[in-house]
Amino acid sequence: MDVLALAASILLARPPMEAILSAAALKPFAKILQTLNKVGEDLYIQARVNKLVLSTVNASRSAFVLVTLQPAFFDSYSAKRNADDQGPIRCHVLLKPLLNIFRAKASTTTIESCRLSLPTAITSTATDQDRLIITLHCKHGITKTHKLHYAPTDPLTALYTKNACRNKWTISSKLSHDWVNCFWHRLEEITLGCGRDYMRLKSFSEDAQAEDPTSRSLQTELQVDTNDFDLFSVQHDVHLTISLKDFKTVLSFADAMNQPVSAYFDHAGSPIIFTITQPPDVFTADFVLASLRPPDEEDDDLGTSGGASMRTSQQAIPSQQYPTQQQQSHPTQEPDADDDDEVLPSSPQPQRRGIHAPSTGDVTHVSATPFRDEEEVIGPTPPRRAYE
């Protein structure tokens, strides 16, 4: 037994995943982690043979970020399939402690190289099992080793196809980075209004829908000249309402990376995808943000009018928590049931359609079961207020 294990350890001496980052790549890497941390709490890692995929999703599952790091991003990158040939290595770690390692002000200036590795049971000692090992080689021969616990998990992916979107635009981050600065800092949502020849950013609040004009809060609108765009191709009028915080995250990431930001979208209620890419083939970051479904369309979809506002339904929420709503909304749940199979599992915000797969076109990723159980996912999300 021991001999066998030894033989195996020699064969598999190389860890299943090993990536070495140079000092120059550390800053963008830290920025990527910071950006992911603004959206979610967990970092899902997929070590594929030809790329490292990092992703996260927010608690309400309305925003999903997927960063693909190509081998060119690293000094060296190698990954092999799982020992039992179950496909690429997949695991998740908490973002906060990971970020803490790279956050220290001096770390980006004193680190000479950084090695990330995921050992397996065979290649490592008992204490190193299920750890993401980060070795920082600093100046003056100082070595810092961090071993973070990880949990094996199924990959978390959203279903979206950028190419199937009818509308897209691309703009330099130099022009887009201050778009949101003029909006009230506590504003939660923003409406992107696009048409053939215009683009407007407008503050969105539920109060504005109310009949009583005195309850309306401050409205802000920003008009962007379509000539500013590198590419602007919008087929019809679209008004997408998305979270301002997530939108800010996208714009500040593009600004930090100094790369243009591209948007792909279809219609209100379907997700908008922002992409920031560093050519040639260094990394790609996709931000998939759910957009708010307009109230009128909601009615159409459901074929009911009165029940629509109560469609918060919380299908997946244990009935003891929201018994009343569960009952009331029951008849209107059915139309959404099919939808839910495609969206990220158990999207808790039925007002948003969630991250949704188009019926046609090639799907880049398949959906999978989330690592956490349903109750945990749903629990902390408050039921969303419906339009009355």
Binding site: P97, I101, A106, T110, R131, H140, I142
Partner: protein
């Protein structure tokens, strides 16, 4: 300065029974007090050597700092004890004023004019480690500082302080003067707290290892350690890995190795390998002092007690030390 005459005029009223000290710049006092202000109350001891402050945390760690007599512009400790005005010299060698004082209140009084910037002097002069940190905020800060202290502006923003205290330590009077504006503060004192004499206990045991390292590297190490870890382990040995800091937390383990003979570790002495465990919370209380300092001397004795001495450049020429003494977790194996 006319105001000075005013100050001294007031304080000479009953010179014999009061301690009087004058600092040209209150900043040095503020800096060292900030370095130990992790607790509300501090014991203050005034004797012929200077003014000393001691703070204790759960009888397991202590911080001590002092401004030496030589750093004062004026330092007048009454030659005789209270009640024996013309007593013999031998009697008052050990005489000292001892009381307990609230640190936040004292700091509030001393910074009443503001202006005592939070930027420690060592950082504001910039480049104390070969420019490795010479970026961003620190550069900006150093430029501002240079213009403030340069030329004639040097004395302008300086706040002088006169400390007056009766021999029984009944109260503490502070007179602060900035550009002719004088503020007088009178602070109530408390009876001194009974402290364990950790410092002399520490000195009784043989020193096993001693090293001096750059403070900013140590600070980075502490900031990288996860806040959820309960204990921090210090491993010092004459051979590799020489100096190792490690901690485990909910998220995982961290370990940092520092080889000797580098720019980071200036001197390294170790008799035999030692490994001791310390409470993270106790170590955290020294973070303020650590971030103000430029160099740190780390000593560990046979019993595992850890002494960290922080060298703080309080102004252009003066250096003050803040010393922390932390007891190890005894009986680690049984934890």
């Amino acid at each position: 300065m006319a105001q000075d005459a005013f100050l001294s005029g007031r304080s000479t009223a009953n010179a014999s029974s009061h301690f009087k000290g004058k600092l040209d710049n209150v900043r040095s006092l503020v800096t060292i007090l900030k370095a130990i202000s992790f607790k509300e109350k501090a014991n203050c001891v005034i004797n012929r050597q200077g003014i000393q402050f001691i703070v204790e945390e759960s009888k397991a760690s202590q911080a001590r700092t002092q401004i030496r007599e030589s750093h004062f512009r004026e330092f007048l400790f009454p030659r005789s004890r209270l009640g024996s005005p013309n007593g013999d010299d031998s009697g008052d060698i050990d005489s000292e004023i001892c009381f307990c004082i609230e640190l936040p209140t004292l700091l509030d009084c001393l910074t009443i004019f503001g202006g005592t910037s939070a930027i420690p002097y060592s950082l504001s002069t910039g480049g104390n480690d070969g420019g490795q940190r010479g970026h961003g905020g620190f550069f900006g800060a150093s430029q501002i500082q240079d213009t403030q202290t340069g030329g004639l502006g040097k004395d302008r923003d300086r706040v002088a302080v006169r400390v007056i205290c009766p021999l029984d330590g009944d109260h503490l009077s502070l007179m602060l003067e900035e550009r002719g504006v004088v503020t007088e503060c009178r602070l109530t004192t408390y009876n001194p707290e009974a402290l364990t004499d950790l410092f002399s206990t520490f000195a009784e045991q043989r020193m096993v290892s001693k090293l001096i390292m750059k403070s900013d590297w140590l600070r980075d190490a502490f900031s990288e350690l996860d806040g959820t870890s309960d204990t921090i382990t210090l491993h010092i040995s004459p051979d590799a890995p020489y100096f190792r800091l490690s901690a485990s937390s909910l998220a995982g383990d961290a370990q940092m190795d520092y080889p000797k003979d580098t720019d980071v570790i200036e001197s390294f002495h170790c008799l035999h390998p030692i490994e001791n465990h310390y409470q993270h919370t106790l170590l955290q209380s020294c973070l303020k002092a650590l971030s103000l300092s430029s160099k740190t001397s780390i000593r560990v004795n046979e019993a595992g007690f850890l002494s960290m001495q922080f060298m703080i450049n309080v102004n252009e020429k003066d250096i003050e030390f803040v010393e922390y003494l932390i007891s190890p977790i005894a009986d680690w194996e049984n934890e």
